[in-house]
Symmetry: C2
């Protein structure tokens, strides 16, 4: 690769640029973002130069779309129109099906591979960009692509191949469901005026995601509505079951089953990291 | 105080003994527990000596009951029968109403003050006892008692006075509800075979409580059934509301309300710690 375009030079786009550089990428890194972001990204040397989308894409072998989901979807036709034949186009959106569908109908000249780096920070923006953000973290690609896989490995991420439908179903369970639990739980605790006087680590851990910005989540909820509804449905029915059997032997079984599932999740998680 | 009985020399009872000693208590610390536990507690010098319940209580100015809730309830008549008039009796049970009711009908000679140190560890047993376990953590008393309050302050805990009903209602929301969320969520994640490949910190944080031992929780669920049912009911209806409005402006409001509640919880939590 001689040149890469990063469209959306925020936390993820900026971190990908820094990670590529640290991993030995010697070509040009071109940023496409708002003037304020470009100024900060150039000052921090996250990107080498800034161009319009058309000029940047036309000069690049890889286009990395790191904006919000709906913006990525809107950009695809313009990116394809500007791309040289065979240009690799990938994205970092948090849901994959809607983007894959949009790419299937709009990417003709380029080759589109969906991506989702499972990494983040509490604060956003290029100021927070970090060459090691992806280190040890899962990085989903929706299909195999040798060059992209090589860079993902070089930046220290853990490659996971998942088709868009499976990615979105799993993300609904491991990420979107905890988010909505936190959003629902925080006011339940907040409405008890003296709750804070005895709140321990559990109450704080379970309400941390309540700070997630809605502007990011609006796109996730809109583009993964089916799997999220299904995950909420299963979870609510498990809670209702627990509620009706709280003092029966069924609850002993529920505790044992939960401990096994939590153990298995950790075991499998560790084996993926190994 | 010249002598203290610790009944149930596990993590909490053992930590209270070590904390008292570190805080300058110079009297005798007498343990009442199973032979295996007593052996370990003497070896670690958590207690000075072991006696039968009757002899220990008869010799003590403070009796600290650190067994499971139902066991505490069963012990109260025997403790009272052995106590000298005016002996201070307190407990460390995770729910307070059922114990307070039992104490009201069985404590005649002693003076009972319910207690709940909001502290713990993932592992239990006197092996894990720690003089600093209560440091900075809330320690609930169900009524005021100057001598007990003084020792709670000296061991570095943060005194919170709550009547038993209010304690149990708040505990249902800040502690019992997160536990049941974790118990319900772990299998939902565990049933997706590839979930672990993309599980991040949220999935791990939200399933950590799934390891809580059922033998502890059976007593909590049995003695706080009403408030737990109410907390589950409110939480489930909030989740259902979110589910039906996922793509409407109501969800933007729910995210903003959750962020405010989470912020307020942290602000109030810090002000309690200050």
């Amino acid at each position: 690769m001689n040149a890469v375009t990063i469209a959306g030079v925020g936390l993820i786009g900026g971190s990908f640029a820094l990670a590529l550089r640290k991993a030995g990428f010697a070509g040009r890194i071109i940023g496409v973002s708002s003037p304020a972001t470009i100024e900060k990204a150039l000052a921090r040397e996250v990107i080498d130069e800034a161009l319009s989308l058309e000029l940047a894409v036309a000069a690049s072998d890889l286009v990395y779309l790191a904006q919000p989901i709906q913006r990525i979807i809107e950009m695809l036709p313009g990116v394809d129109a500007a791309a040289r034949p065979g240009t690799l186009i990938t994205d970092a959106g948090s849901t994959k099906r809607a983007i894959a569908e949009a790419a299937a109908s709009s990417i003709r000249r380029g080759r589109f591979i969906g991506g989702h780096p499972m990494a983040g920070k509490e604060s956003r923006g290029v100021e927070e960009a970090d060459a090691d953000l992806f280190r040890g973290r899962p990085y989903v690609l929706t299909s195999r692509e040798p060059e992209l896989e090589r860079w993902i490995e070089r930046i220290g991420a853990r490659l996971v191949i998942l088709d868009p439908i499976e990615h979105d179903r799993l993300a609904a369970v491991v990420s979107h469901l905890p988010q909505l639990i936190s959003t629902a739980l925080a006011p339940v605790i907040g409405e008890e005026p003296r709750a804070a006087s005895i709140a321990g680590p559990a109450a704080l851990d379970f309400t941390r995601l309540a700070f997630s910005p809605y502007d990011v989540w609006a796109d996730i909820l809109a583009t993964n509505a089916g799997p999220i509804d299904a995950a909420l449905g299963v979870f609510i029915s498990r809670l209702e079951e627990l509620r009706t059997t709280l003092q029966s032997p069924d609850t002993a079984r529920a505790f044992h089953r939960a401990a096994s599932a939590a153990r298995e999740l950790r075991r499998a998680s560790l084996s993926h990291q190994a």
